[in-house]
């Protein structure tokens, strides 16, 4: 209580001088230190979205299936038969960069709480991760971060018993000082049982459930998430919370019991800014006030001050509004699960958030000022100088063609961005809850909905390098690719959750990237009928003034009326025909080939033709739904050759399962399928093989069904490349053989990364 609420104190808490003045105006004079601490959190970038709100309004957010758009803990989508899916993705970048294991673990914990707070049982997690380059002596820290993050995700998710079934991992130098950890979660609920975090009913109890409150995570949202990193990185470690998945598992069971039994009026989880944000948001939405007694909060450390209690980010805590008549039942449920349950305040008619400390009023703030009326800032944007308008001019001098395309293919398959991610996802339980139809490594995760024929599919996508070269086109392509991945497994894309990772928004060039990316995403979401239902913005992803690649991660949900119609990307039977759908065009700009083989990142990525994309995806789903298409694979990083290689390697699996031992014969089939392919292209051979383009997919079809497929693809460019064969991938162009490699050798390269990191 001794701390004084001076301007100096305000700046130390992350506020600006102007914000300090605005606070004095609202409060009618000097705020108390508790009030100042509360404002500093709620007006931080992380909680207030002050830089992003005006731009985010560009997103389409409604549609016939959308039951809940942005503004709640998670978006909710109708998936049929009275079922709905709640989903959201959130960043935990800064905590993970400081302390990777706990940072990532608590990222999972936080997003899972957002899901069950809506009344949904969490059924799947995905994680979109970015690190610096991981190979080589000089990158030991990146391996430390990677190991910690993957370990933390597994630790938390495995313990909860929620399958981690998908995601992506990329390695680029731009993330070396600021890794990205975006955790996505989704849950299943009845469409008529959505719970919203709105406080109501003056006289009702405010009840805190779960862990005791400690000093962990103080200032997490303001000090960590809303500032750039510099040499003081290590000092920020105490701002990272420590996760306790065991308590969260009990919370899930207890809270779902409370919600499904209608024992509570509403519920909110304590995330960034802890008790402060959860209480002010609930009060603001309900147009009521809350009186909270900070001294009644169960503590881990007895000597905590009220401002610390109010902003602590201790994990695994929930806030509920409970009618007095229901308190005994609520207490019974929580006690049965060995959870603390404490009445810490009551709902009032005042519309103010009032904090008491042993009956002394220590803070009194209008709730809506905190939750909904934080200052809005729109930075004047400017196009950065590095952006170019033209693609690279490819000549035999600037980009000499390789002598041996087979060697390039092996090199690409071994490159960290393309190589198998099995060494990561084997640390995740991807099968618990008994819904998983396709395991990690596929184009998308596919799950059934128990008791119905229906199913759902999820993916996350974003090529940060593409977004760096052209944020508008790159972000648009990320949405298109996510939808294409879902269409490749036969699911209809229906909604997006996004995690927009950018640098410091106070810089005009960064703000330009942000505006451009949102515009690109919005256009694609409109064209593909996938509204944005939830999401998160993470700014200040910079270290020592150097920003990450702009990385707007797209998490997307797809639905099936009949999930038995899903396919994966593996070749199925010898003799099947291989068809490339999409235009005969490909760009070196921003491709993995350009980076890995030529050591450059340059040019301008192509613009997705959204009309073509929409028609292509509809044809894919149609062909899969009619049992015509037997396998489908998005043609992405590494181009056509890598797509063919991945489908061949996957043929060694059964049910999407790989043998644990790359040297052992593939389980089930006993050997790999390969392909004999003749590429007819106007492009230089290496570009036809390895350069990249949107709106392309490789599918296989039984020869008897080729005519039907041709008919389905009548208004789309497509070519029959060749056929599925045994054991060898062979590609010719005209008279010349470009490459011929045993699939087991492809697999060896594809699985070689872990051994290179020891």
């Amino acid at each position: 209580m001794s701390k004084r609420a001076t301007l100096e104190a305000a700046v130390e808490l992350g506020l600006t001088a102007q914000e300090y003045d605005a606070i004095r105006e609202i409060q009618g004079g000097d705020p108390t230190y508790v009030e100042l601490a509360i404002y500093s959190l709620m007006w931080s970038e992380h909680c207030s979205y002050k830089h992003s709100r005006p731009v985010l309004s560009r997103f389409p957010t409604s549609g016939p299936r959308i039951l809940q758009g942005p503004g709640e803990n998670a978006g909710v989508i109708d998936v049929g038969d009275g079922w709905a899916v709640a989903m959201k993705v959130e960043s935990h970048n800064h905590p993970s960069a400081v302390e990777p294991f706990q940072g990532a673990a608590t990222g999972v914990g936080g997003i899972v709480r957002d899901i069950f707070t809506m009344g949904a049982r969490p059924i799947v997690s995905l994680d979109s991760l970015r690190f610096g380059e991981i190979e080589g002596q000089q990158n030991a820290r990146q391996r430390f971060l990677f190991d910690g993050v993957v370990g933390g995700i597994g630790h938390y998710g495995n313990c909860l018993g929620i399958p981690t079934v998908g995601g992506e991992i990329y390695f680029e130098d731009s993330y070396a000082g600021n890794c990205l950890v975006n955790a996505m979660s989704a849950g299943l609920l009845r469409a008529d049982q959505i719970v919203r975090a709105v406080a109501s009913g003056p006289g009702n109890h405010v009840v805190l459930i779960g862990s005791k409150t400690g000093r962990d995570g103080i200032g997490g949202a303001s000090v960590l998430a809303s500032q750039e990193f510099d040499e003081r990185l290590e000092e920020k470690r105490p701002s990272v919370q420590v996760g306790d998945p065991f308590t969260e598992k009990k919370l899930i069971e207890a809270c779902l019991e409370l919600l499904h039994g209608k024992l509570v009026v509403s519920m909110q989880d304590l995330g960034a800014a802890g008790l402060t944000s959860s209480s002010s948001e609930m009060a603001s939405k309900g147009m009521v006030g809350l009186d909270l007694h900070a001294d009644r909060v169960p503590l881990r450390e007895a000597d905590m001050e009220p401002w610390e209690i109010m902003i602590s980010e201790s994990q695994e805590r929930m806030l509920c509004i409970v009618e007095p008549a229901r308190l005994a039942e609520v207490t019974e449920v929580c006690t049965r699960w060995d959870l603390d349950v404490t009445v810490i305040g009551e709902v009032t008619e005042s519309k103010g958030l009032r904090i008491f400390w042993h009956d002394e009023l220590v803070a009194d703030i209008p709730a809506r000022r905190l939750a909904d009326e934080a200052p809005v800032i729109r930075t004047p944007s400017n196009k950065p100088a590095y952006i170019v308008d033209e693609p690279v001019a490819v000549t035999d001098e600037t980009y000499p063609p390789p002598d041996d395309p087979g060697a390039v293919l092996l090199h690409l398959l071994a490159a960290p961005n393309i190589a198998s991610k099995r060494w990561a996802y084997e640390q995740y339980d991807y099968i618990v809850e008994a819904n998983t139809l396709q395991i990690p490594g596929s184009d998308a995760a596919v799950l059934r909905i128990k008791g119905t024929k229906r199913g759902i599919a999820f993916t996350t996508d974003c090529n940060g390098r593409h977004c760096y070269l052209d944020p508008y086109r790159g972000a648009k392509a990320a949405v298109a690719e996510a939808a294409r991945n879902l269409s490749c497994v036969g699911a209809l894309p229906v909604a997006v959750t996004d995690c927009l990772n950018f640098g410091n928004p106070e810089k005009g060039g960064i703000y330009w990237q942000f505006e451009q990316a949102v515009e690109g995403m919005a256009e694609a979401c409109e064209a593909l009928a996938t509204p944005v239902v939830s999401g998160n913005v993470s700014f200040y992803n910079e270290s020592f003034g150097k920003a990450i690649y702009p990385t707007p991660v797209v998490g997307m949900l797809g639905v099936y009326d009949d999930v038995s119609l899903h396919v994966d990307h593996s070749f199925k039977d010898e003799g099947d025909l291989i068809v490339l759908i999409g235009p005969d065009a490909a760009w070196l700009d921003g491709s993995e080939y350009q980076k890995v083989h030529y050591g450059r990142v340059a040019g301008r990525v192509p613009d997705v033709d959204l009309d073509l994309e929409r028609r292509l995806q509809a044809a894919l789903r149609d062909g899969i739904g009619r049992h015509v298409i037997k396998s489908a694979h998005d043609c992405a990083e590494g181009g056509l050759a890598v797509a063919l290689a991945e489908s061949a390697m996957a043929s060694g699996e059964t049910g999407g399962a790989r043998s644990a031992d790359p040297e052992a014969p593939p389980a089930g089939r006993g050997r790999y399928l390969g392909a004999d392919v003749a590429v007819a292209s106007r492009l230089r051979p290496d570009l036809a093989l390895f350069a990249e383009a949107p709106s392309r997919a490789v599918v296989t079809v039984h020869p008897d069904h080729l005519a039907t497929l041709d008919h389905l693809l009548s208004d789309l460019p497509h070519t029959t490349l060749g056929r599925v064969t045994g054991g060898v991938l062979r590609v010719t162009m005209g008279e010349s053989e470009l490459l011929s490699v045993a699939v087991s050798d492809l697999e060896r390269a594809y699985e070689s990364l872990p051994s290179r990191l020891d």
């Binding site: 313990c159 009990k250 339980d429 999407g656 644990a660 052992a664 014969p665 389980a667």
Partner: protein, 236 residues
């Protein structure tokens, strides 16, 4: 036939076990709460997978002190069938209902992977629907599945036919890479001397439906238990 499934705080395949049992006609799952000290009228007991009490201490070391465990021990002593899966296996080891102990995986990492299991003894209540040498393809997912025992115990296990499952490759051979956790002698599952308590690290409850990624090889374990119960009923 009633299968009692124990729910500890932190159990997380309890619901999957329930679902798995329910796929068998005539088998009736029911949950048993860890704070109760009786198991009621059940014909078999399953200790499911998960992280009981968070497993912040040694896995299963707290769960073994739950009130229900006394009743489970009595049930086993009376010859009742008890199946411990993963964390349930660890808890049975801690409770002394099975011989041996569990170490961290040799790779020091959680491992979720399909493994091939060779049936080493088909003449038990848990494997009678298999033939010796059969291969079951089931997922393991654990941090601490590195089974160990002293040489005398291992010799006794071997002599009494208590090693029911071993990790092998797809061709049925024992190889170092087929063993996901470093377990002694490639042991994936053992039973007690009277063959009525069985613990295994792989998850048969996530392998009962062919359409799912987990496959259906796990059915053989549950089917064996059901057949055993039917047989004893017929003989009674």
């Amino acid at each position: 036939m009633r299968f009692g499934i124990v729910v500890f705080p932190g159990s997380n395949t309890d619901a999957d076990c329930w679902q798995a049992v329910a796929t068998f006609p005539g088998a009736e799952p029911q949950f048993l709460w860890h704070k109760h000290d009786t198991v009621g009228d059940v014909d078999a007991i399953i200790l499911p997978g998960g992280f009981s009490y968070g497993d912040y201490l040694r896995c299963g070391a707290i769960a073994r002190f739950s009130p229900i465990m006394g009743a489970v021990a009595d049930f086993a002593a009376d010859g009742g069938l008890v199946l411990g899966i993963c964390n349930g296996f660890q808890t049975l080891l801690e409770a002394g209902l099975l011989p041996g102990a569990m170490l961290r995986n040799i790779g020091l990492k959680f491992v979720c992977r399909y493994v091939n299991l060779r049936v080493e003894n088909a003449d038990t209540p848990f494997t009678r629907s298999c033939h010796e040498g059969d291969l079951l393809r089931i997922v393991v997912k654990h941090n601490e599945g590195n089974y160990t025992a002293d040489p005398e115990t291992l010799a006794a296990l071997q002599a009494n036919g208590q090693v029911l499952l071993r990790y092998v490759d797809a061709a049925g051979r024992r190889t170092p890479t087929a063993n996901p956790n470093g377990a002694l002698d490639d042991i994936a599952g053992v039973c007690n001397a009277t063959h009525n308590v069985f613990g295994l690290m792989p998850h048969p409850e996530n392998s009962v439906e062919a359409a799912l990624a987990g496959g259906a090889d796990g059915r053989r374990i549950f089917q064996s238990m059901i057949n055993t119960l039917l047989l004893s009923r017929a003989q009674a």
